[in-house]
């Protein structure tokens, strides 16, 4: 069976959920061979094997942390040359897309980004994309070279499928370009203890209607009652009420949770671009004419300062 390279997104050996989803998708088109780079790469093997990786290629070097993107491209290219895969799958993070694009160019292939589904086709894997702020769905494929495809989080259910997961050291020679962009400093993001925004099953977002940074506590309390991640509209972020890393939308994160709750958000096209593929959408907004109501499964026309505390209280009561 054809092998499919899967680029592993991990933090010190802890594999992030989108990679496990990729392994599920990879199994539809072949046998997953995972590539894990950097510190803790070897510690990813057990999890990857449990989810279907027949082989795990690992490599660690200080270059991955000290320089931007290119060392990872060099390594993925080395893995590509070793395996000659039928396709290369990479998680659709900002960095993942850059790595994938440079690899595609080097190996003479096309690239498809932000796939939301993937299936085997007669002429290679067919990717589904959700485009124009999720108002259209397209089916595309790479028609020249080995398909390089990046896949958005929440595009497939994670399935356990134990496989050998044999660990092999990858041999990598860094190119001259690898050391072009130095990382001279790094400030890790502080953990909030809440789920990762793009991976969360439930997201509760606040917008301009929340009215101030201090009021975001209300949104956080609701989120915590549901075990949800907190998102924000750009208006709330630009006002300095919530960090940019939590922005949902075209220039923020694109989320696709089971449940999205928008509070005090009008539903501008750029916001919709980041949340319209959510399975169930709920909005709380005092303006009955707000465009967000065109999207909802359930909407409350009302003041969020009345509705949100009552909702939180009800959820807590029901959960006991």
């Amino acid at each position: 069976m054809a092998e499919v390279l899967v680029y592993v997104d991990h933090v010190d050996g802890a594999v992030r959920k989108p990679t496990l989803e990729l392994l599920t998708l990879a199994r539809r088109i072949g046998e997953p061979v995972a590539v894990a780079l950097g510190s803790g790469a070897e510690n990813t093997a057990a999890t990857l094997a449990e989810h279907g990786a027949v082989k795990v290629l690992t490599h660690d070097a200080s270059e991955y942390a000290e320089y931007l993107v290119v060392p990872k491209v060099d390594a993925l290219q080395a893995a590509y040359e070793q395996v000659s895969p039928a396709a290369v799958l990479v998680p659709s993070s900002a960095e993942g897309k850059e790595i994938a694009a440079r690899l595609a160019l080097r190996i003479g292939s096309g690239i498809i980004t932000d796939a939301v589904d993937l299936e085997a086709g007669d002429e290679g894997p067919v990717a589904t994309q959700s485009v124009f702020a999720a108002s259209f769905t397209t089916k595309s494929r790479v028609s020249k070279g080995t398909p390089v495809i990046t896949v958005k989080p929440n595009s497939a259910a994670v399935e356990a499928a134990p496989a050998a997961g044999t660990v092999e050291a990858l041999s990598v020679t860094f190119s001259e370009k690898a050391t072009g962009t130095k990382v001279t400093g790094r400030t890790p993001r502080e953990s909030t203890g809440r789920p990762e925004l793009t991976e969360a099953a439930i997201v509760v977002s606040g917008g301009r209607g929340v009215g101030g940074a201090e009021n975001f506590a209300l949104i956080e309390t609701l989120a915590d009652s549901l075990g949800a991640a907190v998102g924000a509209s750009r208006a709330a972020v630009d006002a300095g009420w919530y960090p940019h890393t939590n922005q949902v939308g075209q220039t923020g994160k694109s989320v696709s949770p089971q449940l999205y709750i928008a509070t005090g958000i009008s539903g501008a096209i750029q916001h919709r671009a980041g949340m319209q593929t959510s399975k169930t959408i709920v909005a709380i907004n005092k303006d009955a004419e707000a465009p967000i109501f065109d999207l909802v499964d359930y909407g409350i026309v009302g003041d969020l300062f009345e509705v949100v505390p009552q909702l939180t209280e009800q959820i807590r009561a029901r959960k006991g």
Partner: protein, 261 residues
């Protein structure tokens, strides 16, 4: 020493219009107004600021697109860019990301550059890969997705806010930079700027000027094929309830009925 900055700007269909696909599954540009991709305004802004801080600098804006794409160049010129290059050729219709990066890279080389500045993504394709592809093709450092950027003594520095960490980056020129919408509000063209833009030079190049064969670009040269495009079915109208004091309770019931609680 003069600093030559090339800003890549894309002409895109207005996101607030009714965007859709033509019969050949390329973007239908006839029915929707086009404009300078808003995210490229941030790139123009940073280019102008870097140029203002340099002793001697020149900002050239570059677009690859149909006739109307001149509008995007005009907007950038009226913000303050010095000159513009328009790559236009019928054979470009349907070019994908790999092809676009080829045309842009050849044009950038022909124009001459020390620094290329792009937006973080276009507002239509939204791939966010062209800057990385340009760095790969040009063989220069990529310093991308910057929320903060500065250039001094032949070195570009910036801050990249990623998922796991915020990173400080540094590279020597020549380099390719892309900036996010956190990099600083873009200026509005002044009346003076709009008038001055009319007199600024706009060069037009076609594929032969760049020594690119027609088969390398367009639908024919594309490395990707769109097989189908369908409008997402309208969502079935949801339940909308006016809060009369029980809104939170009603919503909790809905969430419970959907097994979220």
């Amino acid at each position: 020493m003069s600093l030559r900055i090339v800003v890549t700007v894309k002409y895109v269909p207005d996101a607030t219009g009714d965007r859709h696909f033509a019969d050949d599954l390329t973007v239908d540009r006839d029915d929707v107004d086009g404009l300078l991709s808003e995210l490229d305004e941030y790139a123009v802004e940073q280019a102008l600021q870097i140029a203002e801080d340099a002793d001697d600098a020149e900002v050239t804006v570059l677009t690859v697109g149909p006739e109307d794409a001149k509008d995007a160049l005009r907007k950038a010129l009226s913000m303050g860019a010095d000159k513009a290059i328009h790559v236009e050729d019928d054979d470009l219709h349907g070019t994908d990301a790999i092809g676009t990066s080829l045309v842009l890279a050849k044009a950038i080389e022909k124009a001459g550059y020390d620094l290329v500045i792009s937006g973080m993504a276009s507002t239509d394709g939204t791939m966010g890969v062209v800057p990385a592809l340009l760095a790969e093709r040009l063989g220069v450092p990529q310093v991308t997705l910057l929320s903060e950027v500065s250039v001094e003594d032949g070195t570009v520095k910036g801050r990249r806010d990623g998922d796991a960490a915020s990173e400080q980056l540094e590279a020597s020129l020549p380099a390719v930079v892309s900036v996010t919408d956190q990099s600083g509000e873009a200026r509005y063209p002044s009346f003076k700027g709009i008038m001055a833009a009319k007199k600024k030079p706009v060069e037009s190049w076609d594929l032969s000027d760049l020594e690119i064969e027609a088969e390398e670009v367009g639908l024919e040269g594309a490395y990707t094929t769109v097989e189908a495009a369908a409008e997402r079915p309208a969502r079935t109208a949801g339940t909308i309830v006016k809060d009369e004091g029980e809104g939170g309770k009603q919503l909790a019931e809905f969430l419970a009925s959907q097994k979220f609680i």
